[in-house]
């Protein structure tokens, strides 16, 4: 288990390193001269030279990369070009907001996802399963902006139950902003709900077809007992991983959902940074997203390996 954990940890580090190289080269080197971008096309050459020296742009590229990366690791994320705010503080504040939204999303999709998946598996190929499977299949690929826009149209504009915008006050408490989190929460939950249903169904079907479940039924155990002791224990194993993976998906969904609902999270911050070509902010937010994504993938692997010893030896 220790070897497995270390190997996976090494992979996370490798991912982080390559992603940082990618983000650095895409944002710093390719788009041209940062100094010209900040000061404008008609800036005096001496002013450009001064800014380059100040930003360290006159050094060789690999030195720039190393100093950039080490600054990132120790938390010196620089100052935002467009807002002059400290990037670390800005991003961390937004991270808290995104975390709250993700939490609401998870609460909306995980319990019903597992429940419906198991129900569909037990009613395999009956009409109830057909309905659940086909509906989830249909929802699995619907973009968040389509479901979100439809939800806003129905619940915010027509029925006026929830607010259409989730532009919350900074520092507002979780309970206070909860009504504003419901619609974006449902939006990010729907895609993942479908995914969790489908995966839970297929893993439960697999377990139901095994010899040991059949013999448990045949030796006369009560169905409820077989369900708890034989089926669920094994079927929920992959589900743990699926949930961890779906949280990684959630992060991608957050970018669009937050922008749709004007919710001040990390995803919307990234889009803001992109539209203002605010390089330090683009770098910090995208590095953070990569980090969260790969760490949640890491935990998915570790939990799975812990629950299912066979994986460790592969």
């Amino acid at each position: 288990m220790l070897r497995f954990t270390l190997r996976r940890l090494g992979f996370v580090l490798l991912t982080f390193l390559i992603a940082s190289l990618l983000i650095f080269s895409l944002t710093e080197i390719l788009p041209g001269d940062v100094a010209t971008m900040v000061l404008g096309r008609f800036a005096a050459p001496s002013a450009l030279q001064n800014l380059r020296a100040k930003l360290g742009l006159d050094r060789p590229v690999y030195i720039q990369y190393i100093s950039w990366l080490s600054n990132f690791v120790i938390g010196k994320w620089g100052v935002s070009i467009s807002t002059n705010a400290d990037v670390l503080g800005l991003v961390m504040h937004r991270l808290r907001n995104s975390g709250m939204l993700a939490l609401v999303g998870c609460l909306i999709y995980i319990p019903p996802g597992i429940f419906l998946g198991i129900v569909a598996a037990f009613r395999r190929n009956k009409w109830l399963d057909q309905i659940i499977s086909m509906t989830s299949l249909a929802f699995i690929g619907l973009p968040e902006f389509v479901t979100g826009v439809i939800l806003i149209a129905i619940f915010a504009i027509k029925l006026r139950i929830f607010p259409a915008s989730s532009a919350i006050d900074p520092g507002a408490s979780f309970i206070k902003i909860l009504p504003q989190l419901i619609l974006p929460g449902i939006t990010i939950a729907l895609t993942n709900l479908a995914y969790v249903i489908r995966m839970t169904r297929s893993s439960t079907v697999e377990v139901l077809q095994t010899e040991y479940v059949r013999s448990a039924y045949l030796k006369g155990l009560r169905p409820g007992y077989v369900l708890r002791k034989h089926v669920l224990k094994n079927a929920l194993l992959p589900t743990v991983t699926i949930i961890a993976i779906s949280i990684a998906y959630l992060i991608g969904g957050l970018i669009i959902t937050e922008s749709l609902f004007s919710y001040p999270g990390v995803g919307r911050l990234l889009l803001f940074a992109i539209s203002h070509r605010d390089l330090p902010l683009i770098q910090a937010t995208s590095m953070l997203i990569v980090l969260i994504f790969s760490v949640s993938n890491f935990f998915a692997d570790i939990i799975y390996a812990y629950l299912d010893p066979r994986i460790r030896y592969k």
């Binding site: 249909a138 973009p143 669009i256 749709l260 889009l271 790969s294």
Partner: protein, 300 residues
């Protein structure tokens, strides 16, 4: 000594092989048991046809503004109503479908071609370059696709070739991985060994022995990836980072329609409904294809 009986059994084997129903017949039989998939496939093909010939037969020019008839609800003159500039929503959706198919389709095609080639070479030769390439792809796969797309677009700028490139780059690693895993198991099979012993050229082994056996999987993979590509292209359009106005991109239309919902809901309902229908149809079709090619289990 018993050479003749061997010959006889070999002949019988050939007979058995010839008596087996053709692969296509089996696929057709399985397909007939998937009514949802057939329905999805028909809708999908209808969309494809619309993307090809639609722009030629639309009732209005998608850019033609008609201020006198702005924000008109659906009617016989304008099936899906008109937008804030008096443009015909129906025509804009149809012309927009071409963009979706063109960007998503050519991006996916590029990803499949390059990915499959890399996967084939990497899996067939193995070695250090295979190891390095696969690690690199694993890393790329563990970055959220939408993030990668956004960062790439910052650099190359939102243009049509840029979007195609982004789609191709995003989906190339997964295609390569799928291809490689199939090649790894296929190259150990007897018929490939036999072809090698017969002294066949590498190109023959690749194109006649290995690739035909991967077609089904690549078709399923490719069509699944294509529905993701539609998702991605439309999402980027919605964010304003894809195709730029006044293009009739679906995501862009939905974004512009948000502000008009309370007075002109049709501006939102029809593009949102259309893209949902296309994605649902593509999903049903892909799921059906998977059942046709892999009847057992068959769920990923």
């Amino acid at each position: 000594m018993n050479g003749s009986s061997d010959e006889k059994s070999a002949n019988e084997d050939i007979q058995v092989l010839q008596d087996q129903p053709k692969k296509l017949t089996i696929y057709w039989k399985r397909l007939k048991r998937q009514p949802f998939a057939v329905g999805g496939g028909i809708i999908f093909l209808f969309f494809l046809l619309m993307a090809i010939i639609g722009p030629l037969i639309v009732p209005y020019n998608y850019q033609a503004q008609d201020i006198a008839n702005r924000l008109k609800p659906p009617s016989l003159a304008h099936f899906y109503g008109t937008d804030q500039y008096g443009r015909d929503v129906f025509s804009r959706i149809i012309v927009g479908s071409r963009g979706i198919f063109l960007l998503g389709g050519s991006g996916t095609l590029l990803a499949v071609i390059i990915g499959a080639t890399l996967g084939l070479l990497s899996g067939y030769y193995g070695g250090l370059s295979d190891e390095v390439l696969m690690r690199l792809f694993d890393v790329l796969l563990s970055i959220p696709p939408i993030l990668l797309a956004l960062v790439l677009l910052v650099t190359i700028g939102p243009s049509k070739p840029g979007l195609i490139l982004v789609v191709a780059l995003l989906y190339l690693p997964i295609e390569a991985r799928v291809m490689r895993s199939m090649v790894l198991s296929l190259k150990m099979k007897e018929f490939v060994e036999a072809a090698k012993i017969r002294g066949e050229k590498k190109l023959y082994i690749w194109f006649r022995e290995i690739l035909p056996n991967t077609l089904g999987s690549m078709l399923v993979e490719g069509s699944m990836r294509f529905s993701y590509a539609i998702f991605l292209v439309a999402s980027l359009g919605f964010l304003g980072l894809g195709v730029q106005p006044p293009s009739p991109d679906w995501g862009l239309q939905i974004n512009e329609a948000r502000g008009w919902f309370s007075i002109a809901p049709w501006l939102l309902i029809f593009p949102a409904g259309t893209i949902s229908l296309l994605i649902i149809a593509a999903n049903l079709m892909t799921d059906g294809l998977r059942h046709v090619f892999y009847p057992i289990g068959g769920e990923i």
